[in-house]
């Protein structure tokens, strides 16, 4: 079931995390993500989705197992080498995690911190190429007129766009995305997911997207991985998410309304209605 053996861009081998409290968040996960693949990671709350992506860039230190990014083993890197490795992994957060009192531009440029020295960053003297890249990304996400606004003046959708620009200005190879739409309304959620997927395609970026909304996952991801109690229980195409599979991942429930019918293109009414209801319930 798991796609081991194939050496993807990102490879996890037997990844496990046990928190000091005794919680076994991950129990030996093997996973490979090839370059350019947008993968949705679904599973119930507490299944270990957030822990998994945080173990990849070691914001959370895994207890066992190994992480490889482009052939380099991330686990076991020293502090300086880990910082260099983190530059290649952009992260996008549920609550946006912008530094609220900094301007939009400062937030985007903070994505370059791994590349510039302390004094340059302290004086806000980023190399001209970085500033130009930041402007281009802000244009791409439609926020260029907000450069000097403080991040806390923006709406949710705008903040997430800044978060996306911050992740992309790192010039990463992979995006680690933690519930990008959970703080957004259904319409903005779709727009943000569409933007993320377009940008991944434009830049041939791989992405792991933790997401609660099964409908959105099916709509946008090329591959869906299901996590339950720290273990992979599904790995396959979005179309393979049958009621039986969802029951394996989440437990018993009536899944008929959740699953995306495959008649496709345009918002088919029953599906849209079901999703709106799901979104409302979150």
């Amino acid at each position: 079931m798991a796609a081991t053996g194939a050496d993807g861009l990102l490879r996890l081998e037997g990844l496990a995390k046990r928190y000091p409290t005794g919680d076994e968040a991950l129990r030996g996960v093997d996973l490979a993500v090839p370059a350019g693949q947008v993968m949705a990671l679904i599973g119930p709350s507490g299944a270990g989705k957030s822990t998994l992506i945080r173990c990849v860039n070691r914001l959370v230190e895994p207890t066992r197992g190994r992480v490889f990014l482009g052939g380099e083993e991330v686990t076991g890197l020293g502090a300086a080498a880990l910082r260099r490795a983190r530059r290649r992994m952009g992260m996008i957060f549920q609550e946006f995690a912008l530094v609220e009192r900094l301007t939009v531009m400062e937030n985007v440029l903070s994505g370059r911190l791994g590349y510039v020295g302390f004094w340059a960053s302290w004086l806000r003297r980023f190399p001209p190429g970085d500033v130009e890249a930041a402007f281009r990304l802000l244009e791409r996400v439609g926020l260029v007129e907000f450069v000097d606004k403080r991040a806390d003046e923006l709406s949710g959708g705008q903040r997430q766009r800044v978060g996306i620009a911050r992740a992309l200005v790192q010039e990463p190879q992979i995006l680690l995305i933690d519930e990008p739409t959970a703080s957004l309304d259904p319409k903005t959620s779709r727009q943000i997911m569409r933007l993320i997927c377009e940008l991944c395609e434009e830049r041939r970026l791989a992405a792991i997207i933790n997401i609660h909304d099964v409908g959105l996952a099916q709509m946008f991801a090329q591959r869906v991985v299901g996590l339950r109690q720290g273990q992979l229980v599904y790995d396959g195409p979005p179309a393979g998410l049958t009621p039986e599979v969802l029951t394996t991942i989440y437990g018993e429930e009536d899944w008929a309304q959740t699953i995306r019918q495959d008649d496709d293109e345009g918002p088919v009414r029953p599906r849209a209605a079901a999703e709106e209801r799901m979104a409302g319930l979150r």
């Binding site: 914001l59 983190r86 992994m89 791994g114 978060g163």
Partner: protein
């Protein structure tokens, strides 16, 4: 407790201390102690009546305040106090920032954390007057002892509150900065500083007020400044001059308070 049938169910909030013996015992114990303690204070009412008159005489001796006859001393004392206040506040802040960073559990490794918490604890336990006496013994009478005392007290105050503010920062913002590959110093600059700066400025201004007031107190034990002038005035029974000094202190403290209020509103 006569609950008639169908009257609905009764509910009262759970008590703060579940054990009723402990709960009522503590209440009774506190009341008994309070009564005994008040009883042990021997109040001599004839002495109080006599003393009221004397107290009033004392207050009258302050009026009218005399700003003129000791003008030079007052101005010099105030200037000295201001110098002490400014220098000690600046030095205190400069030392408090690294100590405060070290005393923040979410940033510092355990060894550094314990060391810095230790510094904070020592600086907070020793009262200003005691520290002032110590420094007077070490460096002699005058404003240098006062400046050292106030710097020391500022460290205890500011680094503790700064550390607590750093511990209250939004971890998501710090996580996001760390995820970019930022170094520790860059994390401070981009993640921590924007979150704590307004409060740090507010606390520093507040400490400026406190340092000025304290400079009057520690002057009495020989640490220079307006306190020394005030002490001299009392020693000479020049209560009108003392009144002038007290009024000057009040005016300056209120002006500082007003200014810091404006600045604090600005930086939020």
């Amino acid at each position: 407790m006569s609950v008639t049938a169908g009257a609905g169910r009764r509910w009262s909030p759970p008590p703060f201390i579940p054990n009723p013996w402990l709960r009522h015992g503590l209440t009774v114990g506190a009341a008994v102690y309070m009564a005994l303690a008040l009883g042990s204070l021997e109040v001599n009412w004839t002495r109080v009546v006599e003393g009221l008159g004397r107290g009033w005489q004392f207050v009258l001796a302050f009026a009218p305040p005399d700003f003129v006859s000791r003008r030079a001393e007052i101005v010099e004392g105030l200037a000295e106090s201001l110098v002490m206040t400014v220098t000690s506040t600046v030095i205190g802040i400069a030392i408090s920032i690294p100590v405060g960073l070290g005393a923040a559990r979410n940033l510092a490794p355990p060894a550094v954390y314990l060391l810095c918490r230790g510094i904070v604890a020592v600086a907070r336990t020793l009262q200003e007057v005691i520290v002032a006496i110590l420094f007077v013994a070490m460096v002699g009478f005058g404003p240098l002892a006062g400046m050292l005392t106030l710097s020391f007290a500022t460290i205890g105050f500011l680094s503790k509150l700064l550390a607590e503010d750093i511990e209250d920062t939004d971890p998501g913002q710090l996580e996001a900065i760390r995820a970019t590959g930022a170094s520790w110093l860059q994390l401070l600059d981009y993640g921590v500083q924007p979150q704590v700066m307004p409060r740090l400025i507010g606390l520093s201004l507040y400490r400026f007020d406190i340092n000025f007031r304290e400079s009057a107190v520690i002057g009495i034990v020989g640490a220079g400044g307006i306190g020394a002038t005030l002490n001299t005035a009392f020693d000479r029974y020049e209560y009108d001059t003392a009144a002038a000094i007290l009024l000057s202190i009040i005016v300056i403290v209120m002006a500082a308070e007003y200014l810091s209020g404006i600045i604090r509103r600005r930086v939020q």
